[in-house]
Homo-oligomer: 419 residues x 2
């Protein structure tokens, strides 16, 4: 048995205890009424039934016309999700693999680059750059806020030799979503590489129109597919730079990937994760069925619901209100509350998984993820549970306050739709 | 486009419309924020992931030691769920098939029997009996209330020739759960057959201790398995009666089923639905993992939450408060509201499926099912949606009222568990 606030016993009625064989009594529960698990971390995210089904299909040989057709369809659909006429390269990798590929293909050792960060994953650009022997100029905005465009503009102005700038669109560790058009302007004519691992398919990102040179992402967040696929969307300028620099990584080399994808028929450089590709095709059909603008609008409503609810429960949101920060909702752990207690009780009492803080925010914040296959129902259920957990931790929360605030957002949004 | 209250357009911003290819705009939505479907009808009910997974296993040949082992395990576990030392026979049938098998195996044409009913499915016993040429004495309690034991006692007292009495434990059409020990007493020494299609694994039913001779059920409600398996649990007296009367139905004959199940090794009389049996094994593992008393307690909490919420939303519950009526929550459609509008809007706005009325309650009631794989989360989400739907229909509902009432029940129940 665990100790502390979770170590309580289930008071079965004596009659029921007598009636039931010991083997059927089950473990002493820490809750009642919460049988289903609800995954509300910012990735991996839940899969739609269509995507689960697709995993049960027979494994395909990658060198068949049938698989090639699926591959071409997936790449064409990804280009629509990235809103680009440029290349989309698909790697068997995590999102970090896609980030690393951008860094290694666009630089040479010793190159001076700028990384503008506002959190744990912005920091990862720095770690990747240092690992590759780059000379990283690192500027950081306050964690919880978006990347400050003026800070980036100053860093770039001070560094005429810098040719590549790395930024984060959706900072998963804090929920902040940065203003990419403003960062584009701040970076001047330098090549701009954006991490959209958690933001793609959640927050609008028309990369061609905004002039973002490279956007990297992964399969396991907004795209509702298991982890294992990394994506790089790159415009002509980025592809040309990579080609001119030559390969310095065997596995993540863009030219090798491009040559494979663009041959006729396409022939991926290495064995593609065929099941993940088939699942991604199913997921992109779900996206297409809902419609990309409706996907963004849904996340906008869910984000507003979650922020309104968290605030109504008396928690302080991390960072300023940002109508586009609809990927993750982060809040400060109140004074006097153990940073691990809220996620632990959400799990124990309600079978809801949420995240704590990362890096220097570890133990200081809680995070509810709602990017991908999320719905009104999840937000309402999670906020209702959060209220009860906060009360158990001695916080003065009025029952229903968070839920009602979220319902109000939903009612307003529906009035908009139904008007 | 549909007409009426659902035919509204989605106000995409002009900018977003320009950015998105027409093929990606998707259908004009009737909601925002509700992507996931939530099935809250009283069967078929949602499947736990373990049960879905089991359907993807390779088909087994039924005459192998591997399948026989699964079969024996499933029958042994079913006996624990029925809380009986008697026989449990498994048919490839719906729940109605199991009902029909009880009637045909326990009677001869012309037999006078009593059916005590309180709704649409009690009525089904009458239809089955008439179809079999029985002389049915039908007594009905008010729909929405449990079966009145005094009414049954009078009917039985007036009919000394009656040897078999048919009743309903959980009346799915109204949510009423009848008091089986009281009905057992009312039926005197007659054979008592109870329909527990929607109540098994939801509401406690220790059939041996209560002296219920036969209980019939199905796979698709509390047992969280797809439809297609019908169960008959019968005590020695019922089995002996059936054997002495001889077969009058080829497919549903108990003796044929018993002979197959009880041979060594067991050999089902007909091809068993192997996938459903494998899925049922997975589902019974989920039940065992939670523990049968905890399963009943969870449904008790969810039932109380749902009734409290529905009442707080200003709806009139069908029938009197019954702490064991935890299978389905039924409420009267308010005056001036179209009986089909509430389910239609729950589906259109929130992707929640709920049921309307059946038989003479068609158009007059709404029903939310919560038997089986249901959790706190579902009730909170459904009540939140119901509030918004009622507001859209012009009812004076305060936002959060239903949800807060349900949370209060949950908080109280948790205090009980955690005390």
């Amino acid at each position: 048995m665990a100790s502390g606030p979770l170590a309580k016993e289930h008071p079965l009625s004596p009659e029921t205890q007598l009636e039931t064989p010991a083997a059927w009594a089950g473990p002493a529960p820490q809750t009642v009424g919460a049988l289903k698990r609800l995954l509300m971390v910012p990735g991996p995210t839940p899969l739609p039934p269509e995507v689960i089904e697709a995993a049960a299909r027979p494994i395909m040989y990658a060198r068949t016309p049938q698989f090639v057709e699926i591959w071409e369809d997936v790449v064409a659909r990804l280009r629509r999700v990235f809103q680009t006429e440029g290349e989309v390269l698909v790697f068997a990798s995590s999102g970090s693999g896609a980030m690393a590929s951008a860094a290694v293909n666009l630089t040479q050792p010793g190159d001076r680059v700028v990384v503008a960060s506002c959190g744990h994953f912005g920091n990862r650009w720095k770690a990747i750059g240092e690992d590759l022997g780059l000379d990283v100029v690192y500027v950081e905005s306050e964690w919880g806020r978006p990347i400050d465009p003026a800070t980036l503009a100053r860093a770039v102005a001070d560094e005429p030799s810098v040719e590549v700038v790395f930024v984060t669109q959706s900072e998963t560790s804090t929920g902040a979503v940065s203003d990419l058009p403003a960062l584009r302007a701040a970076a001047g004519d330098r090549m701009l590489v954006a991490d959209a691992v958690s933001g793609l398919g959640v927050v609008d990102l028309p990369m061609d129109r905004w002039g973002i040179d490279v956007v990297v992402s992964g399969s396991q967040k907004g795209l509702m597919t298991p982890p294992g696929l990394g994506f790089v969307a790159a415009n002509e300028r980025a592809i040309e730079r990579s080609a001119s620099l030559g390969a310095r990584d065997f596995y993540l080399d863009w030219e090798r990937a491009r040559k494979g994808q663009n041959s006729s028929p396409p022939r991926t450089a290495f064995t593609p994760p065929v099941t993940l590709v088939v699942q991604l095709q199913a997921a992109l059909s779900v996206v297409e069925g809902e419609g990309l603008p409706a996907v963004f609008e849904r996340h906008r409503v869910l984000g507003r619901m979650c922020r309104a609810g968290v605030a109504a429960a008396g928690l302080e949101l991390l960072g300023p209100e940002n109508p586009e920060a609809n990927v993750v909702t982060a809040f400060r752990v109140p004074d006097g509350v153990d940073g691990k207690a809220i996620p632990a009780l959400m799990r124990a009492r309600f079978a809801i998984s949420m995240a704590g803080g990362q890096g220097k925010l570890s133990g200081k914040i809680g995070r509810l993820g709602h990017c991908g296959y999320y719905s009104y129902h999840d937000i309402i259920a999670a906020l209702g549970a959060l209220e009860l957990v906060l009360r158990e931790l001695g916080r003065p929360v009025e029952l229903g306050s968070a839920v009602t605030a979220a319902q109000g957002v939903m009612a307003e949004a529906q009035e908009g739709v139904l008007r």
